[in-house]
């Protein structure tokens, strides 16, 4: 069962037992962190969800964490497990996959898994590219571009066209209960979350994709995850991108 906690300030020292618990630090949005949350929810182990509200105050808190000695290439999300910090969402997912027996051992299954892992991550990164105005100012030391103009509609149109070519491959692949068979592996947690985010962003692409839609429904029925998807917190809805993004999946 899950213990969820939002840390309020960086002055809190690790409480007794907290060092043994996996702690995820990320913005409170779905973004790149939600697949990790899904995997941790699925496990029957306590974990800490250090969800930072996307405000200037927590950005300063994050900047302090980022520059610490034991932080490899400071990024969000990161997890702390057994005293070690691990960054990069894909690396975290693979690590937790190995830890919790959600990692394929058959070499052919592993290759298929890794191809899909990269494919879905690519697509998630394209949502980012289409939704954030790279030319906007980012605080007092980072002024806006004078020449650059962001055209979200154009980027969305191009992405939709590309994604409509891709989704038939997912439709063809997702013919079993989960990616490799009856039981999920770590990539299923990435697949569910990012396909669901894509469905919010590009709903037109999902028409007539029965296998993909069934896959998404099936994921929500998994033990432990089922409780999450029936919870009020889930039903409230959450940001997919940061609130300041041109399209953030909530407002």
């Amino acid at each position: 069962v899950v213990a969820t906690q939002s840390s309020v300030s960086s002055g809190i020292n690790a409480e007794y037992g907290e060092e043994m618990t996996i702690k995820l630090t990320y913005w409170s949005i779905r973004g790149l962190g939600e697949p990790i949350r899904h995997l941790l929810r699925y496990q029957n182990e306590e974990w800490v969800d250090n969800a930072l509200p996307p405000t200037p105050a927590s950005f300063r808190e994050y900047a302090k964490m980022r520059d610490q000695e034991d932080m490899p290439f400071g990024n969000l999300p990161f997890i702390e497990d057994d005293g070690k910090k691990i960054t990069q969402s894909i690396t975290i997912m693979r690590h937790l996959g190995r830890k919790f027996g959600l990692y394929p051992s058959d070499p052919e299954e592993l290759v298929m898994c890794e191809i899909v892992e990269q494919e879905i991550f690519d697509l998630r990164n394209r949502i980012t590219a289409a939704c954030y105005d790279r030319y906007a100012a980012r605080g007092p030391n980072f002024p806006a571009s004078e020449k650059g103009v962001f055209d979200h509609e154009h980027l969305r149109r191009n992405f939709l066209r590309r994604f409509k070519e891709r989704i038939p491959k997912f439709e063809k692949t997702l013919t079993k209960a989960f990616l490799l068979g009856d039981k999920p592996v770590y990539v299923d947690f990435l697949l569910y979350e990012y396909l669901d985010q894509l469905k919010e962003f590009l709903p037109e692409a999902f028409e007539n994709c029965a296998n993909v839609l069934n896959y998404l429904s099936r994921f929500k029925e998994l033990p432990n995850l089922k409780e999450w998807f029936e919870s009020d917190e889930y039903k409230q809805g959450n940001y997919i991108n940061a609130p300041h993004a041109y399209w953030n999946g909530k407002d």
Binding site: P72, F73, N75, K84, I86, T87, Q88, S89, I90, T91, R94, H95, R98, P107, E108, V111, M112, E114, I115, V116, E117, Q118, E119, D122, N125, A129, R134, Y135, F142, S145, E146, K147, G148, V149, F150, D151, H154, L155, N158, R161, R166, K169, T173
Partner: protein, 230 residues
């Protein structure tokens, strides 16, 4: 024996690992033309092509096609004994692998104009690409990252005395970044020594001394705002 099919410029890491292994491979280059594009469409939609992308390799030992450059490097790493087995080394390796992916991704954003038309598809009427601005933002990011690489590259290769699959990705991205943002590398003695050391590896040494290498190649596609070819 693998046959390599590389048309994207992101294929160089794959070539490096094949050169190092002395593994013969066939290269099938698709030209950026109508014919090349048509040929690619046929390959992409073939039944045995998982999520068609470039680069991809076809391992003639198994007949399997593998796409996604990171997945290809991991696959060849395992095949050639260049994949770590110690769990802590695996995590470190994979963190760096993903950092490289991040940097490559962000360099792509800084050099390719997404508002251009493409074939029958029109360009944007309002969107305007500002390469210098994006390059500046990217340079800030690279400037923050290099000290971390500098700290970790205090050994011959990423994990120790011998290279692992990530070194083939790491050399290539650092070398590309050095061409793109040379000022960011000044004073980074570990990183610069690492790049030289990689070029001295057996088999790779021959490549780096060859005329073909010295001719120079495109880092990005020719239509990019910065493509890296001299």
């Amino acid at each position: 024996l693998s046959s390599g099919i590389n048309a994207e410029y992101g294929g160089e890491s794959i070539r490096h690992i094949l050169r190092y292994q002395n593994e013969p491979w066939e290269e099938h280059t698709l030209t950026i033309s109508t014919e090349g594009f048509t040929e690619w469409m046929q390959m992409r939609d073939a039944d045995d092509m998982p999520f068609g992308n470039l680069p991809f390799i076809e391992d003639t030992d198994t007949g399997k096609k593998v796409t996604q450059s990171i997945t290809v490097l991991r696959y060849l790493g395992r095949k050639f004994g260049l994949f770590p087995t110690d769990p802590a080394e695996i995590v470190h390796c994979e963190i760096v692998e993903q950092e490289i992916y991040d940097l490559r991704n962000k360099m792509t954003t800084a050099v390719y104009n997404p508002y251009n038309g493409f074939g029958p598809y029109p360009g944007s009427e309002i969107g305007k690409f500002d390469h210098e601005f994006l390059k500046g933002r990217f340079a800030q990011r690279v400037g923050e990252r290099i000290p971390k690489f500098e700290k970790t590259l205090n050994k011959p290769f990423l994990l120790g005395d011998k290279p692992c699959y990530v070194d083939f990705l790491l050399y290539e991205i650092l070398d590309q970044l050095k061409s793109f943002l040379p000022e960011k590398f000044e004073g980074s003695s570990n990183v610069l020594a690492y790049l030289k050391r990689f070029e001295e590896l057996p088999n790779l040494k021959d490549w780096f001394q060859s005329d073909k290498y010295k001719e120079g190649n495109y880092i990005n596609a020719p239509m990019a705002a910065w493509h890296g070819k001299k």
